[in-house]
Amino acid sequence: MLQPYLPLVFMFLLAGAFALFSVTAAPYIGPRRYNRAKLDAYECGIEPSPAPIVGGGRMPVAYYLTAMLFILFDIEMVFLYPFAVSADKLGLFGLVEIALFVATVGFAYAYVWRRGGLDWN
């Protein structure tokens, strides 16, 4: 049953092998002349900012909101696909259902818009 997916696996393996080979080989092919400045975080030549990013680093909360909204709308999008495939078979019933569905999501969308969830400042 999964046989049609076999070429995808081959493609995955080839691309993976190529990429892994590249990242593994990179340190051995190139020269190795390190110094402290080279290994520091790159901030255009000034002293790197003191807070270590990995671990204790913080990031703007707006990105989390975008991620949550993405999940919401992505799921909505995925629900629309099965409807789209069989839209003609479902006929008027499908049309009414999808209009209700989009209206429901549209209501939530209008709420987010009104609360400023889509603004970026």
Binding site: A25, G30, Y42, G94
Partner: protein, 433 residues
């Protein structure tokens, strides 16, 4: 015989040939595209562009790629070792896998074996492309996070937010196409466009797709993650040598993939354009389909370059507003409109093609009119900086110079005592870094 059945009895050697062929095609397209982009942008800016390496400079990107391989591979001390190492791989693999569902040609025979010029034909073909582009975001976010440096982190977050925002618009624009083809399989979508391309039938979907494919691949005018003046190089600032090359490769392969998907969904994929098939039946040959397909894909790739040569970069809030407040509602309304038209058509009252084209034109006119609406009036701020006749803001005459902020003291976190191969005399002669 459907494409899926045709592909199901492919022997292993044929699958391997196709895999290697598509891989090579994508790499060659990347090398070609980098060069082509530089040349076209150069033409637009009245300069020659690369013209030294190879005939007319066409081997420039190959030379650049080889040069990158022999550059020093740097891993910053603050970087997370394994994630930093794996991030280029994670962003590279889905870029290649996404292309495998694209039909690049019609039915042909290779060494006596009847087959279609397509690696796989899945009933969920379009979803594979969307899924792969979502997984590619992991590579971006992880590379930025693992670099242990502020610019890559900000660039990665921007990039991820951008890709996922525009992916919604992209996915919604595809729904209209699926409604007409009754299938998500890419080869069925191409076959459903035998009479009329979806670009005519579903023009608003096409417009939304083209805009969001530029946003999705982080290209100009939406290349905010790489805004040099703000973020240095974006998420791959700390990467060098072949690791950087992999990110570059992934970006260009993604461009090729979205362009190929655009021609599959809206321009009839490998089908002969403009009724040329009636002139000479050889045009409909499977191998000739490859030519049409590449031509259509190159058209979209040219659009990418054209946009980059023409438009200035957008501001981030403008960009997010376009994605969330313009493209998403328009696509939702358009989907409901298409569903309505199809239902009416099935009840046999209208000719849906006329109806849809008229609707598309009306929608286009509405969008154009909305651009003419005046902006909201901004309240005059009495404390605002006055603007002189020349249009430049000048500071007020009684300007107080603000007190300089106290300087932060740098904290050196977890630096090893003596980095690997450092020569003390060299460092001393360079001055303290």
């Amino acid at each position: 015989m459907t494409t899926a059945e045709l592909l199901a009895d492919d022997p292993i050697w044929l699958i391997l040939i196709k895999v290697v062929g598509i891989f090579a095609f994508l790499v060659v397209m990347t090398l070609f595209m980098i060069n082509w982009e530089r040349k076209v942008v150069a033409r637009m800016q009245q300069r020659p562009g690369p013209n030294r390496v190879g005939p007319n400079g066409w081997l420039q990107s190959l030379a650049d790629g080889l040069k990158l391989a022999f550059k020093e591979d740097i891993r910053p001390v603050l970087a997370d070792k394994w994630v930093f190492f794996l991030a280029p791989v994670i962003s590279c693999i889905p870029a290649f896998v996404a292309f495998s569902v694209i039909p690049i040609g019609g039915e042909v025979s290779i060494f006596g074996e009847r087959t279609a010029l397509q690696l796989v034909d899945l009933p969920v073909g379009v979803l594979v492309v969307l899924a792969c582009s979502s997984v590619g975001v992991y590579g971006i976010v992880l590379s930025g996070w693992a670099s242990g440096s502020p610019y890559p982190l900000l660039g990665a977050l921007r990039s991820a937010a951008q890709v996922i925002s525009y992916e919604i618009a992209m996915g919604l624009s595809i729904v209209g196409v699926v409604m007409f083809s009754h299938s998500m399989s890419t080869s069925d979508i191409v076959k459903a466009q035998g009479n009329l391309w979806f670009v005519v039938l579903l023009f608003p979907s096409f417009a939304i797709y083209v805009i969001s494919m530029v946003g999705e691949t982080n290209r100009a005018p939406f290349d905010l993650p790489e805004a040099e003046s703000e973020l240095v190089g974006g998420f791959h600032t700390e990467y060098s040598s072949l690791k950087f090359a992999l990110f570059f490769l992934a970006e260009y392969v993604n461009m090729v993939t979205v362009s190929a998907l655009a021609s599959t969904l809206f321009l009839g994929g490998y089908q002969t354009p403009f009724g040329l098939g009636s002139l000479w039946s050889g045009f409909d040959n499977g191998w000739f389909g490859l030519v049409w397909f590449v031509a259509k894909t190159l058209f979209f790739l040219f659009v990418f370059i054209w946009l980059r040569g023409t438009l200035p970069r957008m501001r981030y809030d403008q960009f997010m507003r376009l994605g969330w407040k313009v493209l998403v509602p328009i696509s939702l309304v358009w989907i409901v409109a298409v569903a309505l038209v199809r239902a009416l058509n099935n009840s046999g009252e209208f000719s849906q093609q006329q109806f849809l084209i008229i609707l598309g034109v009306v929608l286009g006119v509405l969008v154009l009119l909305s651009l003419l609406l005046p902006d909201r009036k901004v309240e005059e701020d009495p404390n605002a900086v006055p603007i002189t006749g020349g249009g430049f803001p000048v500071p007020p005459l009684d300007l107080e110079v603000p007190k300089a902020p106290t300087r932060r003291t740098p904290v050196v976190a977890n630096l090893p005592k003596e980095p690997v191969a450092v020569t003390a005399s060299k460092e001393a002669s360079d001055g303290d870094v």
